[in-house]
């Protein structure tokens, strides 16, 4: 009797409440293995880059939807901003424009003079950088890295490796490009290194992002190095990524301990890493280079190697082995 009842039950389909499919542990093993395989593939091989680009492009509409509320908020804020404030701002901007005009006039005469002198010395012409104005869409969501996402991508001819600059200084470098946006690693990120020069005495060094605070480190400089508090660090321009002479950071603290041969130098970035929305993506043209140096075949190799290689290599290198360059190149 009981047996027949059991038999009857087996015939029926199990109710939905009991239908659970494979056990939780089996699922855990399967999906963990899949995740680990993905991690290994993505971190060591380059197969998933194009897939990621396509997926981010699909994600873009969602991102626009998510950004809409804050944009609407700022737009309405602008709409209701007072007449008085606008007038004030207008006056300030006019004054600033006047100052900039004067500076520009001097700059153009200086540029002419520089060109002329370079011609006299028969030296190569300084490179003219092209730049694209972008806007920060949002801050990177990974708390372990310092990144921002900018609304200019491959469709605007942005390439990984370009320098990103705002009105007050360098803020980072493009490390990944998507069709409509690109990822900028800030100079305060631990994996980013930037070749700098002390403005006061021309000393060259490499600054590394600190990672946790919004500061930069200048490691591997001897304890008796000629760097003072308040020194301005500018890009040295020898890397072929950052245009020379842009402000990077100011030295805020120097610690010299007797037990270490190196000074511990902490700098604060001058660029508004967290403040500004508009940024400039600057690219140094590398297409013109072979053409200009092809005219002088004897210097062909010497000229191309240091300038052409770094734009492609440095982003990868700085991410995989940030400490591979233990001393400043001289």
């Amino acid at each position: 009797m009981a047996r027949g009842f059991n038999h009857k039950l087996e015939q029926q389909q199990a109710p939905a409440f009991f239908a659970r499919g494979p056990s939780a542990f089996a699922r855990l093993v399967f999906f963990s293995a899949l995740s680990l395989a993905l991690i290994a593939t993505d971190s060591r091989l380059q197969y998933l880059n194009s897939l990621r680009q396509n997926l981010v492009a699909i994600l873009h509409p969602l991102q626009v939807v998510a950004n809409a509320p804050s944009q609407l908020y700022s737009a309405t804020g602008e709409y209701f901003s007072t007449h008085h404030r606008l007038l004030n701002e207008n006056q300030q901007l006019k004054q600033q424009a006047l100052k900039n005009d004067i500076a520009l006039q001097r700059l153009s005469t200086l540029a002419l003079e520089n060109d002329h002198l370079r011609q006299l010395l028969q030296a190569n012409k300084a490179l003219v950088e092209s730049s694209v104005l972008g806007e920060i869409m949002h801050v990177g969501r990974d708390p372990f890295t310092k990144k921002v996402i900018v609304n200019r991508g491959e469709s605007h001819q942005i390439v990984a490796g370009e320098a990103v600059v705002d009105a007050t200084g360098v803020i980072g470098q493009v490390t990944r490009t998507y069709p409509l946006s690109s990822e900028v690693t800030l100079i305060t990120d631990k994996s980013l290194a930037i070749p700098i020069q002390v403005e006061r005495n021309g000393l060259r060094a490499i600054a590394f992002g600190h990672g946790r605070d919004n500061t930069l480190d200048l490691p591997y400089l001897p304890a008796n190095v000629d760097i003072r508090r308040g020194d301005t660090l500018v890009t040295s321009g020898i890397d072929g990524i950052y245009p020379a002479g842009l402000a990077v950071a100011t030295v805020s603290k120097i610690e010299i301990t007797p037990d270490s041969p190196f000074a511990r130098i902490i700098c604060v970035p001058t660029g508004g890493v967290e403040n500004h929305r508009q940024v400039l993506l600057v690219s140094i043209p590398h297409i013109d280079l072979p053409a200009s140096s092809a005219a002088t075949p004897s210097t062909h190799k010497v000229k191309i190697n240091p300038t052409k290689k770094p734009p492609q290599q440095t982003p990868e290198k700085s991410q995989s082995a940030p400490m591979s360059n233990p001393h400043a190149p001289e």
Binding site: A16, A24, R27, F31, S35, D42, H138, F144
Partner: protein, 159 residues
């Protein structure tokens, strides 16, 4: 099976994902709870036959895409968390509000610790104890949701 319920699961996951995509910055980024994981835990408790470890894995993959990190990190963290949620799902339904809250906190911490281990293996630095704040805010969000009448299968609400 339950087309309406399945639809509401995916709709809520999509909403949680959009919450994740909001332009968080500065301190709010440090406080931001893991919306997607909270929604997944909710559905794992309520409807384990519709939302299971696989759903969590897929959601983790989407989070990986949104954070721009290496593929598979969040996926692994969510998978392990989902496993622990599903393992004790039958008991979890019977817990009262406070017990459930502690268990959810534990689950959120499991996901964060897994992620931390993966990141540290990848060469990142430990960010200090503020790293665990999203778990606390996540639990608070859970509590608020329960207070506003979300039935998480707790016994107290049914009685």
């Amino acid at each position: 099976m339950h087309p309406s319920k399945l639809k509401s699961i995916y709709l809520s996951l999509l909403l949680a994902f959009i919450c994740l995509l909001l332009p968080w910055s500065g301190f709010s980024l440090k406080l931001r709870p893991d919306f997607l994981l909270l929604v997944i835990i909710f559905w794992l408790i309520r409807a384990p036959n519709l939302c299971n470890v696989g759903t969590a894995w897929f959601a983790g993959l989407c989070t990986d895409l949104a954070t721009g990190g290496i593929f598979g990190q969040f996926a692994l963290a969510y998978t392990i968390t989902a496993f622990f949620a599903v393992m004790y799902q039958r008991r979890l339904v019977l817990y009262n509000g406070t017990q459930q809250l502690f268990y959810v906190l534990l689950l959120l911490l499991i996901s964060q610790v897994t992620l931390l281990i993966l990141k540290v293996f990848g060469g990142a630095q430990f960010l200090g104890w503020t790293y665990f704040l999203p778990s606390i805010t996540g639990v608070l969000l859970w509590k608020i949701a329960v207070m506003f009448g979300l039935n998480t299968g707790g016994r107290v609400r049914g009685a």
